[in-house]
Amino acid sequence: MAFLTDRKRATGMGSAKSGTEHHWHMMVSSVALCGLIPLFVFTYGYALGMSYEDAAAYYARPFPAIVGILTLLVGFVHFKGGVQTLIEDYAHGFARKALIIGSICLSYAAAAAGVFAIVRIAL
């Protein structure tokens, strides 16, 4: 043990492998959401509570529909990355793997369902 250098002990132990990529994706999605979230809150919040006809007509318009699609897509991808960090901090072994796979599946499924719904309303 005493013959190991500091460098040798540290190599491969740091976060500068897939971690930097993960962090970069969180940064990109958070920058995108900085613009999308205010737009989404005030378009979706405006439509929420409308009658069926009004809400369907509102989301047939391009701007609310595109903001909605982008927010759900980017939002769920951002959630996928964020909740993975949470799981990695608190769950270990098989539970960690199962939860990460489950949360990735949930994120894509919810994003797909939401995008499909908006496309169907709009078209």
Binding site: V41, G49, G68, L72, V83, A113, A117
Partner: protein
């Protein structure tokens, strides 16, 4: 040498033994609010799916979302959303290498709490 002092190094500040500070509390709430938003996100997907399926499904989803319980969830979620957004902006500022000292971090923590409360009130008034 590399093997000197193994096992006698300072420990990570675990939540249970660490005095709460504005920096740690705002950090914990960033994680909490971000992950709590899954509830509102799934409700939102449900609302869109219902709107796509027809008037009966929409009446059910929209009825729940505008009930007192739905309102309570959406109010909490708007607060979480603004807080998490501002905390995320704080992270982007930190990532650019600015305001990393303790004093600035604490000041930014106070600012994001205050601004998220104001934005939540503003959103409730507007919508």
């Amino acid at each position: 040498m590399a093997d000197v002092n193994r096992g006698n190094r300072p420990l990570s500040p675990h939540l249970s033994i660490y005095r709460p500070q504005i920096t740690s509390i705002t950090s914990i709430f960033t994680r909490l609010t971000g992950n709590a938003l899954i509830v509102a996100a799934l409700l939102t997907v449900w609302w869109f799916a219902a709107l796509a399926s027809g008037p009966e499904a929409y009446a059910r989803a929209n009825g729940f979302m505008t009930s007192w319980f739905g309102d309570l969830i959406m109010f909490g979620s708007v607060a979480c959303l603004w807080y998490h957004t501002l905390a995320g902006i704080r992270h982007l500022i930190w990532d650019s290498g600015h305001f990393l000292d303790i004093e600035s971090s604490e000041r930014m923590g106070q600012i994001i709490i205050l601004v998220s409360v104001l934005l939540t009130i503003f959103t409730v008034i507007v919508l």
